[in-house]
Homo-oligomer: 339 residues x 2
DNA sequence: TTGAAAGCGCTAACAC
DNA sequence: GTGTTAGCGCTTTCAA
């Protein structure tokens, strides 16, 4: 009925272990034996059962990714790059979307452990997440992505210096009246971007008026509220958005209101999502090195997976990936009105 | 060392099968036995090994999703909804991104089969894909999503009538000079949208001038080329884009060129991606019923998985989900210049 | 170079 | 109600 290594062995007239050796090259096999095994495999259309192999080997060659969602471009890109990196290493990715649900996160970790994944990559949501604590109760290496977790393994962008980069760029262009559109301050990454931005501005003796700071959710819709700036006196000449989607929303509304980018208003975003390159002019943004983050996370995880085999234990590492500013067309030097 | 059902049994002073029965409620267990089993599980922090269970049960409770990418909003949404639907049914999703690579698609199917997934959901790329043929060689139910495949199981939107909906809407608003921005005609879905659109227009005795049809890739960047329409005589008063991303690109460029939406130009897109709701005014678009497609695909797959157990065989079904037009602010009645 | 046998962790008859 | 036993399909000593 079901074709197993046994059926192949029988047809080829050898023992199952010989077929196994042939398959895994775990022992030399005589040329003619090999041939008949090959033939048997072909005629039966045999396909190894990786579940059985995993049980025996205690390795599933699979990795779980837990992520808040994948429709947010940044997360989607992270997930996709991770999948690609795992594919290269011949690991299968089990995707778990937490939908920002803290309970679900926990259950997903638990499930992945039950499924015997070799490791877990986790983009966890919020400081109240119990995931860190819980993760200690499972005997599986886990790497936190996109947020530094002291005492754990993590790979994240230095959001503070990302904020600084944005501030410096605007300051150097001569902007002195700057608006901020800030996502949820509870998200540490967002808070750090704001913090870095304001810190750097202070160094330039630039103050941001409270009226020039808007708070909202990191969604396009929030960006539309940029119009509130247009009636302010003085009116900002540049805007920093804590992510690109918000920047795009702001941009759309500005154009609609007859305000040109960058002539009348400079815009700088954060994340360097794919779309930002395609705008016209393209969006200046502080890029998280998505590819590097994902690659480093996978590398670190695989390293831990293999090291745990040797019972070695390297110390927790918080890898910080520096952001990079991508200066494109949406920011321009301030045309001084009194110059 | 490793804690198994055996260790639990030993500690609880019962047989492994009793623990199993307790766990799976496959047989009644005396109250006090249950208690000591519970305690043993708790003190040992026991966690069932689903790999072993799968081997025994010949069911992994996992499903593979093969999809070209997840950074395209439509695909990202499909993938996310599918994950959620599977989560509800307690199935784990194994994500495989094909990156439009036909070879890779095949290897991924093969891998999923080796991993003994219970079923496969596939959003396959292009007509030259050998996936359909190959899928017949594996003993696992597979459902094709987003494209109807005669003779196979599939769930897809009726793109032709989607195109018709768009055309009718614009015609009813009084538009007679209409521009089209068309994605890759090799993608059948795109071709069908165009086809439906033109067919319906013909019914209204409206011709689309060849100069008013632009071809490109389904990306935001392509949308920017909308400006080519602005210099044409006559100039279109409305634009149909074969997907929302292109529509957004067009919109951005129009605003930049001082052309207001919808006053000076109506825009209608296709897909109803999340972002389209948030534009200002929101984008009129023909929506694929993403949620329904995903839900139906999962439902159909799970049904087949369970039916195959009973050796029943239902006939291949090509489920067609009707699209729906979402009339929002980006389209408006033509202001007749001579009226 | 090959085969016999044991066992990965679990479930399911079947007997008690 | 509970225990014994026999596998699920594979790898891996170990012996021949």
């Amino acid at each position: 009925m079901k074709v197993t290594i046994r059926s192949v062995a029988k047809l080829a007239g050898v023992a199952p272990s010989t077929v196994s050796h042939y398959l895994n090259q775990s022992a030399p096999v005589a040329a003619d034996t090999a041939l008949s095994v090959e033939r048997a495999i072909a005629t039966l259309n045999y396909r190894v059962n990786l579940g059985a192999r995993s049980l025996r080997m205690r390795k599933t060659h699979s990795v779980g990714l837990i992520i808040p969602n994948i429709t947010t471009p940044f997360f989607g890109e992270i997930a996709e790059i991770i999948e690609n990196a795992l594919w290269d290493k011949e690991y299968q990715m089990l995707l778990c979307i937490s939908e920002r649900d803290l309970e679900r996160e926990i259950v997903q970790i638990e499930n992945l452990a039950r499924r015997q994944v070799d490791g877990i990559l986790m983009v966890y949501q919020g400081e109240q997440s119990k995931a860190i604590q819980f993760s200690k109760s499972i005997p599986i290496p886990i790497i936190f992505v996109d947020r530094p977790i002291p005492g754990e393994y993590s790979v994240a962008t230095d959001n503070f210096s990302g904020g600084q980069l944005a501030a410096r760029h605007l300051a150097e262009l001569g902007h002195r009246c700057i608006g901020m559109m800030c996502g949820e301050a509870e998200i540490r990454n967002v808070a750090e971007r704001m913090d870095g931005f304001l810190t750097e501005l202070r160094r330039w003796k630039i103050d941001v008026h409270p009226d020039h700071i808007l708070h909202g959710r990191q969604e396009l819709q929030f960006g539309l509220r940029v119009e509130e700036f247009l009636t302010k006196q003085p009116r900002p000449t540049a805007i920093f958005a804590t992510n690109d989607i918000v920047a795009v929303g702001a941009w759309l509304k500005l154009l609609e209101r007859g305000c040109r980018v960058p002539e009348d208003m400079s815009i700088i975003g954060f994340d360097n999502i794919e779309m930002s390159r395609f705008l016209s002019p393209p969006l200046t943004t502080v890029g998280q090195a998505t590819r590097e983050i994902a690659a480093k996370a996978v590398e670190l995880l695989l390293q831990r997976i293999n090291e745990s085999e040797q019972l070695a234990n390297i110390k927790p590492a918080n890898v910080v990936i520096p952001p990079a500013i991508h200066i494109r067309g949406s920011t321009a030097a301030l045309l001084r009105e009194r110059g």
